[in-house]
């Protein structure tokens, strides 16, 4: 959802190429200056959407001929409507085409024919904007303006389409992440698909060394004395405790000096769950002795609030709640010293049932 699918990149080029072409070509329309700016802007945006759809045809032609045909019809319809803005039924036809196109995309995404990506979401934003511009009544319009149904359609369609689009692409992205993404936008390090025997041994050695090194921190007072501090709210089920000195020093996967410790916040105090190694810089994945067992992950597109270091996820529209900032966290590797049935000792996450059980014990 937050990246550009290689198959769709050409669509972005098509849309960007269509923008200046439409701006120049439509100015030669004899009645260009007789229509409101809203109509002019909607016509240009529909030409952009048409450009995106037409550019996507070659890549889909071999594998998805029906989709290619739909792209062709869609592209032609958009470009035709962008040039026929003086037609009596232009608003009605434009609104119908725009709404159908957005809903069609959502059906494609929901049933898995397309993966949600930046080109798709950006195109839908352009189309919803074009819909708003095509429908919004302008002060001083002369003739039959149908203001009531235009306001009604605008007021319902724009919010509904944006909310449904956002919800659909978000749910699909979380439910069906691509192979290198797991929960909450964590990007996994690329590795070989299956671990070799030496990699299994190396992972076992790393686990044993780390567990031995951090066992003293089961007493959280010792962790505090060593410089570890809660890096977030302690009202959550678990909290990462960070040693800023080790973070700044940039130790790389040193079992004696892990950058973080993870504690479950139980009713009888913090209970040590494991360690966290973290690299200093973004996109710099650390050494991977265990291959696919010990692959690092980088959290991307998280919204972090400086008030108490809490986080949420960036929306598909690239916005965070007011006061939160979109960031990525540099690559990290967890080593869970408690039993973690969902994912094992190096999983991205600890099984929440484990944390809940510790709290109950």
């Amino acid at each position: 959802m937050y990246s550009i699918s290689p198959a769709h990149a050409i669509g972005l080029v098509g849309g960007l190429a269509a923008l200046p072409l439409a701006l120049i070509a439509l100015r030669f329309h004899p009645r260009w200056r007789s229509v409101p700016g809203t109509v002019q802007a909607a016509a240009v945006l529909m030409a952009v959407s048409g450009g995106v759809h037409l550019a996507l045809i070659p890549h889909h032609l071999a594998t998805q001929p029906l989709t290619s045909l739909l792209f062709l019809l869609n592209g032609i319809a958009f470009i035709t409507l962008s040039a026929t803005f003086t037609w009596k039924y232009w608003r009605l036809a434009s609104a119908a085409l725009l709404i159908t196109t957005v809903l069609g995309y959502l059906v494609y995404v929901a049933i898995g024919f397309e993966g949600p990506d930046q080109v798709g979401i950006a195109t839908k934003l352009v189309e919803v904007t074009a819909l708003g511009l095509a429908l919004v009544p302008v002060r001083g319009e002369i003739g039959r303006t149908h203001r009531s149904w235009r306001w009604a359609t605008l007021g319902v369609a724009m919010p509904m389409l944006l909310v449904i689009t956002g919800a659909t692409v978000w749910i699909v992205d979380l439910a069906r992440p691509d192979p290198r993404h797991v929960h909450a936008g964590a990007l996994l390090q690329a590795t070989n698909p299956f671990p070799t025997p030496p990699q299994v041994e190396a992972a076992d050695r790393l686990y044993a060394a780390t567990k031995t090194a951090i066992l003293p921190y089961e007493d959280w007072h010792q962790a505090w004395a060593a410089g570890y501090r809660p890096g977030g709210s302690t009202t959550l089920p678990s909290t990462h405790w960070i040693n800023q000195r080790y973070v700044d020093a940039g130790y790389v996967m040193d079992p004696q000096r892990p950058q973080g410790l993870v504690y479950a916040n139980t009713h009888h105090g913090p209970v040590l769950l494991g360690a966290m190694f973290q690299m200093k810089g973004l996109n710099q994945f650390g050494p991977d002795p265990g291959g696919p067992i010990t692959r690092w992950h980088q959290h991307e597109n998280i919204c972090i609030t400086p008030f108490g270091f809490e986080f949420s996820l960036m929306t598909p529209y690239a916005t965070c709640a007011i006061g939160a900032v979109d960031i990525s966290a540099s690559p990290m590797l967890h080593v869970w010293i408690v039993d973690n049935p969902r994912g094992g000792p190096f999983a991205v996450d600890i099984d929440p049932t484990v944390v809940a059980a510790l709290d109950r014990s």
Partner: protein, 126 residues
């Protein structure tokens, strides 16, 4: 197609500001699951976002009605958005630089400023 006698820039701004208002509404709603998970600050920020979305929608209606206060507020708001986006995109914090982020955080605010700027546009606001 019907003709118009005056500028339609306020109507264009209304559509763009309504779009932004919905973005903030979605951001506010999206923080609810995290608030339910125990993130108290995120609950407050989510509520602020929802109220802000409502405020932005009202500013859009004010622009539509050619109110001077609404034009000024919208300009201030969009300038703040652009400044925040410039910081977010410029600092090495790993913020998203994709087309959607550029569209919502840079292109839309810049378009609103462009549409509201200038003496001619200002003259239609009372």
């Amino acid at each position: 197609m019907e003709r118009t006698a005056t500028t339609s820039r306020p109507e264009m701004v209304f559509v763009l500001v309504l779009l932004q208002s919905i973005f903030w509404m979605v951001a506010g709603i999206s923080s609810i699951p995290f608030a339910l998970g125990g993130e108290l600050h995120m609950a407050a920020l989510g509520l602020v976002s929802l109220l802000f979305a409502l405020f932005v929608c009202l500013v859009g209606i004010g622009v539509l009605w050619r109110r001077r206060w609404a034009r000024r507020t919208a300009l201030g708001l969009e300038l703040a958005c652009l400044l925040g986006s410039a910081l977010e995109l410029g600092l090495p914090i790993g913020a998203n630089h994709g087309p959607v982020a550029l569209l919502t955080n840079v292109v839309v605010p810049a378009a609103v400023i462009w549409l509201l700027w200038g003496r001619t546009t200002r003259s239609v606001f009372s």
